[in-house]
Symmetry: C2
Subunit: 220 residues, 2 copies
DNA sequence: AAAAAAGGCTGCCCTAGGGCAGCCTTTTTT
DNA sequence: AAAAAAGGCTGCCCTAGGGCAGCCTTTTTT
C-alpha cells in the first residue's frame, strides 16, 4: 500500500515536457533563478561564465535544445530576450480535489500584493477544489488552493489543512492525530470525520494560499 | 455630498510618487506595456522608434529622470536590463475594508494558474478585508480582495459584491436595487441590510478575485 | 560495443545597442 | 517675462553580446 502512495507522489512531479540532459537542466534552472531574481534574461556570456565554460558555443547549443524542447524562446539576434514559456510561469494546477464598516477612506497604497511571487515558493502546486466539504474553512467549490509539499509529516500541526491521499482517493481536509490514528476532518457538518491508521495517510501538501477568481456571470 | 464622493474616487488614484512630465509618462506607460507583453525590456533604440525620435539621447534623458524619480532601474551598460520597481508590479493594496472526495489521482498539470497576470487587469486594486460581515460569501477577515473599478454603475448586476462608499464609510457588500434605493447586504445574518438612496452610494469597485495567504501559525 | 547526440573549445566576425558631447528648441517653473 | 528644466537632434564612439565554422571529447542511446 505504502508503495502505491510513493508511486503517486512521484507521478505528481512527472514533467509532461521532453526531458532535459543534465547540462540543459542545470542551465535551465540557473536561467529561471536568474530571471526571477533580476527580472531580465542574462546574456549568453553571463551564462557561459555561470556554467564555467570558456566559450559561448556550448551555451548556444543548450539554449537551442531548450528552445526546441519548448522550454524557452527568444527574439533572434536581440540581447537578453530569453523568456520562459508562458505556461511554465506561475503555479501548475495539477488537478481537482474534493473538498462592518471602516470609517477610514481609501488613500494611497499602504502595501502591495505582489502576485508575481510573494507567498509562493518553487515546488508549490495548485489544486482546483470541487465539492463543499471545506466550506466552513472558507474554501468553496471552484477555488484554487496553493499547496506546499510536506517534507516532514511528523511536523504537521494539528488542524492544518492538507491534501491527503488515502486508499479511496485524495481529499482536502483538516489534519488531526488521535493516538496512532489520523483524523481527516471536513469543515462541513454534513460530512463525516474520517479516521485512518497513520501509515495509510499520505500527506501530499499543506495549504498555503487560496485563490478565487469571481466569475461575473455567477454573482447572482 | 456627491461631490465629496468624487473627491474620494480621485484620491484613490493619487500617485504617491514624484509626478512625471508628459513625455516621461508616455515613455513609462509604453515601457510597462512592452515589458508586460514581451517579458523583457526594450532597447533604447526601440524606445526611440516607439517615441518617434531620431536619436537615442532624449530617451536616455527620460530614462534618467524615470530612474531618479524611482520608477525604474537598470544595470548600467547592459542591454535591455530595465526593470520596473518591485513595488509597482502587482496589485496595489489600497487599504482595508469591513467586510467529498475525488478518486482521480493527481497526474500532470491540466492547466496553470498564472499568478503573473491572468485574471488581473491594469486598474484593478486590492483591499485587505477586516471583519466578518461577508463570511457567508466565503470572504473572511484578513483576505485580500481584488477589485475592479466600475465604469457604469447602472450596469452592476444584482448581488454583485462591491466596495461601496456611503456617508458612514466604505464597505464590502452585496449590491441590490429596490426602486430608487440601493440595498447593501452583508453575507452574515448578524449584520443588518443597509438601504440608501441610490445617489448616496458610490460604488468604488466590484469583486473580481479573492486571495488568502494562510499563516501557518494560525492553522490551529 | 558502436553510433549518435550532446558538450566543449578556439577563434573570429559583426551589429545591436549603450553612452555622450555639444548645441538648439520647447515646455515648465518661478 | 525670465530662468530653468526638459526635450530634441546630430554624430560619433565603442563594447556587450549574438552567431558560427570547424574540430575534438564526453555522454547518452541503441
Amino acid at each position: 500500500m505504502v508503495h502505491l502512495f510513493h508511486e503517486m507522489t512521484l507521478m505528481l512531479w512527472l514533467n509532461p515536457m521532453e526531458p532535459l540532459t543534465t547540462a540543459q537542466q542545470e542551465l535551465y534552472d540557473w536561467l529561471i533563478d536568474y530571471i526571477r531574481a533580476n527580472q531580465h534574461s542574462p546574456s549568453i556570456r553571463q551564462m557561459m561564465r555561470a556554467m564555467n565554460l570558456r566559450s559561448p558555443a556550448p551555451i548556444q547549443s543548450r539554449l537551442e535544445h531548450l528552445k526546441n524542447k519548448g522550454y524557452i524562446e527568444w527574439s533572434e539576434g536581440k540581447a537578453r530576450t530569453i523568456r520562459v514559456r508562458d505556461d511554465v510561469r506561475g503555479v501548475p494546477i495539477l488537478g481537482t480535489i474534493a473538498a462592518g464598516f471602516v470609517n477610514e477612506a481609501f488613500t494611497d497604497a499602504v502595501e502591495r500584493l505582489d502576485l508575481n511571487g510573494l507567498p509562493i515558493q518553487s515546488g508549490d502546486y495548485a489544486l482546483k477544489v470541487t465539492g463543499d466539504s471545506m466550506v466552513e474553512a472558507m474554501i468553496q467549490d471552484g477555488d484554487v488552493v496553493i499547496m506546499r509539499p510536506v517534507k516532514d509529516p511528523q511536523g504537521i500541526r494539528e488542524g492544518t489543512i492538507v491534501a491527503a491521499r488515502v486508499e479511496s482517493g485524495t481529499t482536502l481536509k483538516s489534519f488531526h492525530r488521535q493516538g496512532n490514528q489520523v483524523q481527516l476532518k471536513p469543515a462541513n457538518p454534513n460530512y463525516p470525520v474520517m479516521e485512518f491508521p497513520a501509515d495509510l495517510v499520505d500527506v501530499q501538501g499543506r495549504l498555503v494560499a487560496v485563490w478565487r477568481g469571481i466569475d461575473p456571470d455567477f454573482t447572482v
